[in-house]
């Protein structure tokens, strides 16, 4: 899932200081699970903002709502009316949700309440770990299901650097050495030969952003349409 972190109140307050009627819109999927931008967090931010603005003698009307997914047009349609009735929207979605909402209500400014950080797993209560860098050329089949590009700070694909440190990383003791993890897992599986090969340089040419992906079946349909249309 996508992991986000709420921005400090001061930063959010500064962005919307000239707006008088604001919709705070939460997102009920990834950022709700990582406790950054779901229904509860909408409620909290709304209260913080109302109180802060009232204390400053600059009261603001704050509306609250949360949709299932802000990255999906069909979930967004029903709230657009409400958004257009405000002079600004604070989106508590990831950067994708903020952008889709901005596209849908072009005349109303949309402000991000979160910093979008990574895609990863919930490791234990309150702790998330980055797991995938979206390189577009997955090698997890050879590396025991542990990604050296995401888990190794340097993204090394041919083994550890000299900074490997009793299973931890030179960068920080909070980080595991990906290559210790990979080695130990493949050892258990009897598959160390997987990583004896020299992996070639990564292919950054596969990721020229923004990437567009068209489903194969639709590619065909699009061509047909163009042909007959």
């Amino acid at each position: 899932m996508i992991v986000g972190q709420r921005k400090p109140l001061a930063e959010i307050k500064e962005m919307v200081k000239n707006h008088k009627k604001i919709l705070i819109l939460g997102c009920g999927t990834c950022v709700a699970v990582c406790m950054a931008g779901g229904e509860k967090e909408v409620e909290l931010l709304a209260s913080q903002l109302r109180i802060a603005r009232k204390l400053e003698g600059n009261p603001v009307e704050v509306l609250e709502d949360t949709v299932t997914r802000q990255c999906d047009r069909e979930y967004m349609e029903p709230i657009l009316e409400k958004a257009r009735g405000c002079d600004a929207v604070i989106s508590m979605a990831c950067g994708v949700g903020v952008q889709l909402l901005s596209d849908l209500i072009e005349e109303i400014p949309v402000y991000p309440a979160l910093n979008t950080r990574f895609i990863g797993t919930n490791e234990r209560e309150g702790v998330w770990l980055e797991r995938c860098m979206m390189c577009g050329n997955c090698i997890l089949g050879q590396t025991g299901g542990i990604c050296p590009i995401a888990i190794c700070a340097k993204g090394l694909v041919n083994g550890p650097c000299g900074g490997t440190n009793k299973g931890k990383c030179e960068v920080s003791n909070d980080k595991d050495c990906a290559w210790t993890l990979i080695y130990r897992r493949l050892e258990k599986q009897g598959k160390l030969d997987n990583i004896r090969q020299i992996f070639p340089p990564k292919r950054f040419g596969l990721h020229v952003n923004p990437i567009t992906q068209v489903n194969e079946a639709y590619q065909h349909a699009q061509k047909e349409e163009a042909h007959h249309g």
């Binding site: 700070a153 650097c161 000299g162 440190n165 009793k166 290559w179 020299i198 340089p201």
Partner: protein, 295 residues
């Protein structure tokens, strides 16, 4: 054949040392160090933004070593340059008469002094060695022809005290297969443990020339600091005690004595093919270390 390669193949005990380029344009001290050691060692490494701290580039420093009549080894890390920049620097190095290259991963950005810079790591050290060898065939990594090939004596590093050691050795084998012909190791202090690494390394390829890394101990505190803060370096307790037992103001002399003693033993017992001396900011004492080693 390049001077350093000749030394490696001569069968003699090879000695290299490093200089760390300065941050800024005052190069008096670096030139002094180069002049002091250039005729005493077989080659001089220039570090590449060592410890992720921005300084004069390794290529620039190597050109200076060459100008002063020394034999430079160009250290190249994968941290700051993508494959295009690395390849073009390799071309530049070769036409400037720099014939030796040492391929390293590089420390991570955050340990240094530009914490928000982009960490590149487009290639890793194994792939960089492959790139050097490919360019010797007259090709670049894009599959294009060079108008004339490069020629390098190409080396790599290994950390014999890495914990755990197995993944490190797996990578070592890849470096040798990729074409590394010499190795300069991370600092070693436990020679008996180093012998185990050497037995393994000789099995991987008996022709690979291995220079043991000698980092000068300047104090007991430095040894303790490295033990707790530098992964892959382990100073045994006896050496720390020996450093601590040095009379006040004589710790550096003790460190020189220890380094000299280690080098002498490595040479006399024919444990490896040479040493790489890292005096880390005290390059001026390299001749004293050599004297202590009887070289």
């Amino acid at each position: 054949m390049a001077k350093f390669k000749q030394a490696l193949q001569s069968g003699k005990f090879v000695v290299t040392a490093e200089v760390g380029p300065p941050k800024g344009t005052d190069i008096k001290e670096m030139l002094h160090h180069i002049d002091l050691i250039k005729d005493r060692v077989d080659a001089i490494n220039s570090t590449d933004n060592q410890s992720s701290v921005m300084r004069i580039s390794s290529l620039g420093a190597c050109a200076l070593i060459k100008q002063r009549g020394g034999e430079p080894i160009l250290q190249m890390t994968c941290r700051d340059r993508n494959r295009m920049a690395l390849e073009s620097d390799l071309l530049a190095a070769n036409v400037l008469g720099i014939d030796n290259v040492l391929c390293l991963t590089g420390d991570y950005i955050s340990v240094g002094d530009h914490k928000d810079a982009k960490p590149v790591f487009d290639l890793d050290s194994v792939q960089l060695i492959q790139a050097v060898r490919l360019m010797e065939q007259g090709k670049d990594l894009g599959g294009n022809d060079l108008n004339a090939p490069v020629k390098f004596c190409c080396g790599a590093i290994v950390t014999p005290e890495a914990d755990p050691i197995e993944p490190q050795l797996l990578k070592y084998e890849k470096k040798i297969r990729a074409g590394a012909e010499f190795i300069q190791t991370q600092a070693i202090y436990d020679i008996d443990n180093f012998k185990k690494f050497m037995a393994y390394a000789r099995k991987v390829n008996k022709d690979t020339k291995i220079l043991a890394g000698i980092v000068l101990l300047a104090s007991a505190g430095m040894a303790r600091y490295m033990n707790s803060n530098v992964p892959g370096i382990r100073v045994p307790k006896e050496l720390i005690d020996e450093m601590a037992g040095a009379p006040k103001g004589k710790a550096l002399e003790k460190g020189i004595e220890i380094a000299g003693r280690m080098i002498r033993r490595l040479k006399d017992e024919k444990i490896c093919d040479g040493v790489h001396i890292m005096a880390i900011g005290r390059e001026g004492v390299v001749p004293d270390i050599l004297a202590a080693a009887g070289l």
